[in-house]
């Protein structure tokens, strides 16, 4: 669907228009599947069929490029195939600069693209906290009192902390966000290309047949953790996440392996299986602006 083989083992990966509906996440996970088949070869990202890229796609594609390099191949971007609006956005959010392209000091409505290598977790968490404070919630897009801001940042930091500690992503964690003034929403996407939550839980519980939806439910129960050296919860109980979405009329979607969780205000959380397996975890957070 997205892939074109050229002579001398160069692969063209065609990026479609990507929004952040469920079907768009499936498109991203299919791209990941294609990359798994392209180990050790040159991959060119082609945007000629792409009319729009949301922040989830930006974070994801950045991670895919690093993954291609990690697999011994070479990721290249065909910047000339991009429509002007996409190009401008990728300049503003720093994506192009991260991959040797144009640099801009003007962010506009973008929350910068970033990559965190899983090195010293304390340092990474501290850097991420500054990013969330300054770039996500610190730009007057959301009217938020200091207590709620602390609570929101703390909750998202718990998500990062778990990704760093359990994700086992060979290339790190990728983040990008965007303020959409027309729909009054602030969005942030976080993705890793590690083993995924259900896989981790199945290993821990020694239940290979455990459904992804059940594994995710286990992972988000208070006190449950796969951490071995220090017993205690992982800070990701559903009560906390639901309080988070209620506070800011937000929504959290978590995709991992063959499962997903949807957390929306005034609704019970939904645990579902997905029709495609994604080796990694993707978190999409939306909060309502004033």
């Amino acid at each position: 669907m997205f892939i074109v083989l050229k002579p001398s083992m160069i692969v063209i990966l065609r990026i479609p228009t990507i929004n952040d509906y469920s079907s768009d996440f499936i498109k991203l996970f299919k791209l990941r599947e294609q990359v798994e088949k392209c180990k050790g070869i040159e991959v060119i990202f082609d945007f000629s069929k792409c009319g729009f890229l949301r922040q989830n796609a930006v974070a994801f594609i950045g991670g895919l490029a690093r993954l291609i390099n990690h697999y011994g191949g070479q990721a290249k971007f065909s910047w000339d195939t991009m429509q002007n609006n996409i190009r401008a956005n990728l300049v503003r959010n720093g994506f192009m600069a991260a991959f040797g392209g144009e640099v801009s000091g003007y962010f506009g409505n973008s929350i910068p693209y970033r990559q965190d290598i899983c090195g010293d977790i304390d340092d990474s968490i501290s850097d991420v906290m500054t990013y969330l404070d300054d770039q996500w919630l610190g730009r007057s897009w959301v009217n938020i009192d200091p207590f709620t801001k602390d609570e929101v940042v703390q909750t998202v930091l718990e998500l990062y902390r778990n990704a760093f500690e359990y994700g086992d992503s060979p290339v790190g964690i990728f983040t990008c966000g965007q303020h959409y003034p027309n729909i009054r929403q602030l969005k942030l996407s976080i993705v890793d290309f590690g083993i995924g939550i259900p896989h981790n839980i199945r290993l821990h519980l020694q239940k290979e047949s455990l459904l992804a939806s059940d594994a995710l439910q286990w992972a988000f129960q208070k006190g449950n953790t796969t951490r071995q050296c220090v017993p205690g919860g992982n800070g990701l109980d559903m009560v906390t996440l639901k309080r988070f979405v209620s506070n800011k009329k937000g929504r959290i979607n978590i995709y991992s392996n063959d499962g997903q969780i949807i957390i929306a205000p005034a609704k019970n959380e939904i645990y579902q299986s997905t029709p495609i397996f994604f080796k990694g975890t993707m978190i999409n957070i939306s909060i309502q602006c004033n």
Binding site: I121, D122, I125, S126, M129, F147, D150, E151, V153, Q154, L157, E158, R161, E165, L203, H204, L205, Q206, K222, G223, T225, R227, Q228, V230, P231, G232, G233, N234, G235, D237
Partner: protein, 117 residues
């Protein structure tokens, strides 16, 4: 009683593993020696579960719960921190004080280690 101002070690954010471990070593030594400890959280704002798991939760490994409750005084911990602190303590108590629960968790962990070996 030994008084520890957490802010001096962590500043506003109780999120770093290295700070939690340092704190744990001090508290553990003091409680083990039969002395009391006051942990003053004045000025702190943000907290991660791992911080309390490491700093305090681990105490329940070899110090009885009633001794910890009698000898460790936590002061000036705001609501946000209280919530995370209590979660971490509840989990630690469940693990270290409930032998059936601990056996179940340990057997899973042992199988996992074997499977990964």
């Amino acid at each position: 009683m030994i008084y520890i101002r957490v802010y001096d070690l962590c500043h506003e954010n109780c999120i770093a593993q290295k700070h939690a471990t340092a704190l744990h070593e001090i508290i553990h030594a003091e409680l083990h020696a039969g002395r009391k400890v006051e942990l003053d959280f004045a000025g702190t704002r943000r907290f991660l579960t791992i911080f309390f798991n490491l700093a305090v939760g681990q105490l329940y490994r070899d110090i009885p719960a009633d001794v910890i409750e009698r000898s460790l005084k936590v002061t000036n911990l705001e609501d946000l921190g209280q919530r995370v602190y209590l979660d971490a303590i509840d989990s630690a108590k469940l693990y270290y004080n409930d032998s059936e629960y601990r056996k179940a968790v340990d057997s899973v962990n042992a199988e996992e280690e074997l499977a990964c070996a």
